[in-house]
Assembly symmetry: C2
Homo-oligomer: 304 residues x 2
């Protein structure tokens, strides 16, 4: 199966702790890396992950709170020192440009590559990235400032061609990819071999949804219905639900309710408040509603 | 002796590594904390140090390269979330204001305290801070952009009064501080007891000099003559001296030459290039010239 992995670089929330880094993740789809959010310290976490810096060309920012974007200037500056040449694309609320561009101009003079901004409206549901392997769609969320999540949908992969059919019909090499992509095969005698004799279907396309930061927002379930993996913030335990409402964050139970109602396959919760010395209480609470839940943690890698 | 400690929060250089944090230090003088430089990740290192955030009111920035100031916005923002009320004073090249103020305005709306900028000219030698305990003086250095170090000079402390003299002459409480500060004592019979019978001299005032980043710059030795502790950058080994010249950094040997020629009491070297997996080579090189040298490392605390 083609690679589709999630790497958690940081899963803390606004206040720094010694247990968690600020928010950042990397999605690895067929060795192309997509970063989601970029809190302070992300560049060191990226190094720790051993992912190749040069494979990272796209960064998506959910919203402009510091714990989701203070690490950008460090990443950009370090990529400059490493003499990167490929464009780096940043997708975010338009306000980021006015904040980040002056820093780039001041700190990264004469840099060897360009930062290309792709502003979007977090309130709209839109495909903001699309290539042969994957599309990325915004997921409007409900938070104290314009915020959205991101839905990564893998593109279908070609069918598998059966080895024994290649041998039996002596299928020439130049036909293999065409058959994988759906063509029938015509033998030298003019006989048509239908594609579904020659191939087995590829694995169904997979999907990953990232929802952070957000209050409990049930209408999101329609858009993320059935995803293979959902990351949902779970800043608080239910015992702190008043604080969750006030700050427009979710409890672990609410994250699990979203997962259950959206019938996702697996849930990973994160964005933990600094008040918990141990997130087992959050895990337990979520698992009561949605058993297939795991806790995010720094350097955790999940295959989707 | 009154407290005068140096805490190393980070001693790496521009490129992030998993071994070292970006530059930052805290000087603790009589429980007042003074931060020098503030690279990315400083707020987590400050938490790790267990120093009290509320005791930190002054931050000095040597120059505006990212590895010395990218952590400021995180510190400022976190202090806001912690509902600090005391002003936070930042001393730096004037260009910092135009870079940082827009970020404060955007990310820290409605913050409970003020950030007060104190711009200075790094090319001039000036006292930029002065209170009852300490003065801070700029040390002009030679680097790729305007840069200075900082010289912390403790103020003299009062003399020690001899316990047995208090008892013998029945010195009243209200006179004790006056005698510590140099007054003679006059007995009820009108007899003058000279101050030097009553007291022993206080410890001589101590001093700490921070020199980073800088090329080898011998004229600095005059200003830092005889300091109790010198932090000097030692980004490279002598085998990389061409690179040191090119980037206007120092080798470990050059740092030690400055320490020797300035007749300082102790040297701590830091700002290590990411190319060294082990800084013993730098230590050895420095100690050949100036034996009383130690390597900086994260969470190292030195009493001055």
């Amino acid at each position: 199966m083609e690679k589709f992995d999630l790497h958690i670089l940081g899963c803390g929330s606004a206040l720094p702790t010694m247990r968690h880094q600020a928010t950042s993740q990397v999605v690895n789809i067929r060795e192309k890396l997509f970063m989601i959010d970029c809190g302070e310290g992300t560049q060191v976490q990226l190094r720790r992950s051993r992912l190749k810096f040069s494979r990272l060309n796209h960064i998506f920012i959910s919203h402009l709170h510091g714990d989701h974007c203070f690490g950008l200037i460090g990443v950009i500056s370090t990529f400059g020192m490493l003499e990167r040449t490929a464009d780096l694309h940043i997708y975010s609320h338009p306000d980021l440009i006015g904040i980040l561009q002056p820093q780039i101009d001041f700190f990264c003079k004469g840099m060897s590559y360009n930062v290309v901004f792709h502003p979007f409206d977090p309130k709209a549901r839109d495909v903001i990235y699309d290539d042969r392997s994957v599309s990325v769609e915004t997921i409007p969320l409900r938070h104290r400032m314009p915020t959205c999540g991101f839905l990564f949908r893998e593109k279908p992969t070609p069918n598998h061609i059966k080895r024994e059919m290649i041998d039996f019909y002596q299928i020439p090499v130049y036909m293999i990819n065409r058959i994988k992509n759906g063509e029938d095969f015509i033998t030298e005698e003019g006989k048509t071999i239908p594609n579904d004799w020659l191939t087995t279907p590829s694995d169904p396309p997979r999907s990953y949804a990232y929802c952070s930061d957000t209050a409990y927002y049930p209408s999101v379930t329609e858009q993320i219905q059935g995803v293979d993996l959902l990351f949902h913030e779970a800043t608080f335990a239910s015992s702190d639900s008043a604080r969750a409402r006030q700050t427009q964050h979710s409890t672990a139970r609410q994250a699990a309710q979203i997962a259950r109602d959206a019938q996702v396959k697996r849930l990973v919760i994160g964005h933990f408040s600094a008040r918990y010395d141990d997130e087992e209480i959050l895990l337990k609470e979520a698992q009561e509603v949605f058993p297939n839940t795991v806790l995010a943690q720094e350097n955790l890698q999940l295959s989707i």
